[in-house]
């Protein structure tokens, strides 16, 4: 074999190898359990568009997502909140919005609660539905476990500390809260609007409460008028790696809007 031919083959091998290296790669994404199902779907679509890449999505909460992005355990972290000022060294990209809503059982005659009433119910100042115009029945207060971003956002919005809350039930994920309200007509809880609206339209007997007269719907979250809403953020080291950057841009593009809507989140305008 002539020398030039050997050299040519050698070059071809090197070149194809670097090409493969460019498209091959693994993205580890960890964090918010609210975002994980959505990002996993986006990841599947991303894998089909970029053969050879693998997107590995793990849950663990927003705090873990940010911590993993900081210390490099994950390429991208998922945080279902805006970045805090002290986290400005990170690169954050909003991919969608989510709202938190209070839910009641459908048989509960109460249709609206003011911020003060909600606060009083959660701190144990009001313990009977009669006080807020409902039936004569004790209120069952459902709270979230420590560390969840839903709890953090709820406490922050009503300027409460977790110590003030007099809960009867502490739940882990959204679905457990919905199941608890489903089984107890006198319970009140708070969950993601996306999950709540999905279940309410699929025959689960729960009702989403409006907040400050603004109904809890996907529209009000999208246009930013619903008070208890939060951005879903992909977090990475600044600047992100090339593959991470490609994934973040893809997640923000209209190409994934159908996936976002399917999860009852609100896509970027």
């Amino acid at each position: 074999m002539p020398v030039w031919l050997t050299g040519f083959f050698f070059l071809v091998i090197i070149f194809s190898h670097t090409l493969a290296m460019a498209t091959q790669g693994k993205l580890v994404i960890t964090g918010s359990s609210t975002m994980a199902p959505l990002v996993a779907e986006i990841g599947k679509r991303f894998e089909t568009l970029h053969p050879g890449t693998r997107v590995d999505v793990q849950t663990g909460g927003s705090s873990r997502g940010i911590a993993d992005a900081v210390n490099g355990l994950a390429d991208i972290g998922m945080a279902s909140r805006a970045l805090k000022p002290q986290e400005h060294t990170l690169h954050g990209a909003i991919i969608a919005y989510d709202g938190i809503t209070l839910i009641l059982h459908q048989d509960n005659p109460v249709h609206e609660l003011s911020n003060e009433q909600i606060k009083a119910i959660y701190t144990g100042a009001i313990t009977n539905w009669k006080t807020v115009g409902g039936l004569n029945a004790p209120i069952t207060v459902i709270n979230k476990a420590e560390g969840r971003s839903t709890l953090e956002l709820f406490l922050q919005h009503f300027s409460l500390s977790n110590r003030q809350i007099q809960a009867h039930v502490v739940i882990g994920d959204n679905e457990q809260g919905i199941k608890t309200v489903e089984g107890n007509p006198h319970a009140i809880g708070y969950v993601s609007i996306g999950t709540a609206q999905y279940d309410a339209t699929h025959g689960v007997p729960i009702r989403l409460l409006p907040l400050q007269h603004i109904p809890a719907t996907l529209e009000t979250v999208r246009n930013g008028t619903f008070p208890l809403s939060r951005p879903l953020t992909l977090v990475s080291k600044a600047p992100p790696t090339e593959l991470a950057q490609t994934f973040i841009e893809f997640s923000q593009s209209p190409a994934v809007h159908d996936l976002i809507l399917k999860q009852y989140f609100v896509p970027l305008p």
């Binding site: 873990r64 029945a137 110590r163 039930v169």
Partner: protein, 295 residues
């Protein structure tokens, strides 16, 4: 007892090979436990250094975001749930085993036994789901809020009942027929035989069943997490929600960082200590019983 050192066949190499491979496997099994304990100690070390053992018993409450780490309410939650379930499940389990073995007609005993075996195989999350959608709403209608120590005890009882029943059954089956025949020959009635001959003979096996039940109740997580309400408080009535040490770990581990995370490993360590104390107590009890029998 057959001892291989007295056995004339033990000079073969294959026997020695078997002996050493068994020793090696036993060493692995034993060191696993040691490794787990070491790992727990290692992970909980930061909590002991930065928070201190006193805080776990003297803090104002469990508020990890405010650096308050009181563990005693969850310790009580675990203890009450376990005690309650064993008090409910042990009599039920033992009596259903006696019923299967000595009272039920064969056409009933066999399917009943299969049913209990099936019950033992149901995953705990299924019990939890059942508790959440059936049991808790029932209790809520009677004594709100519903998720409570009582719900936990009931679900745990259903879970450990088959363990106690099956182990008791196995030990009843091993009672020498001659004892029963002698008792019958003496003209004792069926209940007298069970009470005076069978139950005392099968005592060790019954205790083993109860110990296994307690161990399962102590470690149960998923079902408890779904029906107990998970509010951190020492229960004052059966209808108060509680949080167990295991539920605490499962609820918060995924979201915990730093001292909070380390304290969750301390809860694991506490659980481990509880199991060890329990095993020592159980061994002591068994030893005393064995001693009483020889006298």
């Amino acid at each position: 007892m057959i001892s291989s050192s007295n056995n004339i066949l033990s000079h073969f190499h294959s026997d020695r090979f078997l002996l050493w491979s068994l020793r090696f496997l036993a060493l692995i099994a034993g060191s696993l436990l040691v490794l787990i304990v070491l790992f727990l100690l290692h992970e909980s070390l930061p909590a002991f250094q930065h928070i201190g053992l006193r805080s776990f018993f003297a803090d104002e409450g469990w508020y990890p975001s405010e650096e308050l780490y009181l563990l005693t309410p969850m310790l009580w939650g675990t203890i009450w749930a376990t005690l309650g379930s064993i008090m409910l499940a042990a009599p039920l389990g033992i009596s259903s085993a006696v019923c299967i073995q000595y009272y039920a007609p064969p056409f009933l005993a066999k399917p009943y036994r299969r049913l209990v075996e099936l019950l033992a195989g149901i995953p705990s999350v299924v019990f939890g789901l059942w508790g959440l959608v059936v049991l808790v709403p029932l209790i809520a209608r009677w004594q709100p809020p519903g998720p409570s120590l009582l719900a936990g005890i009931l679900v745990l009882s259903v879970m450990i009942l088959p363990t106690i029943t099956l182990v008791t059954l196995a030990s009843l089956a091993h009672i020498p027929a001659s004892s029963i025949h002698s008792a019958t020959a003496l003209g004792l009635g069926r209940w007298a035989i069970i009470q005076r001959v069978i139950l005392p003979t099968a005592k060790a096996g019954i205790f083993t069943g109860i110990f296994l039940g307690v161990a399962r109740a102590l470690g149960e997580t998923m079902a408890i997490l779904m029906v107990c309400g998970n509010v951190v408080q020492a229960p004052s009535t059966l209808f108060d929600p509680i949080r167990t040490l295991t539920a605490n770990i499962a609820l918060e581990m995924a979201y915990a960082l730093g001292n909070h995370r380390s304290t969750l490993f301390v809860s694991g360590l506490f659980l481990m200590v509880m199991v060890v104390v329990f095993v020592i107590m159980a061994e002591g009890l068994r030893h005393r019983e064995a001693h009483a029998d020889t006298r």
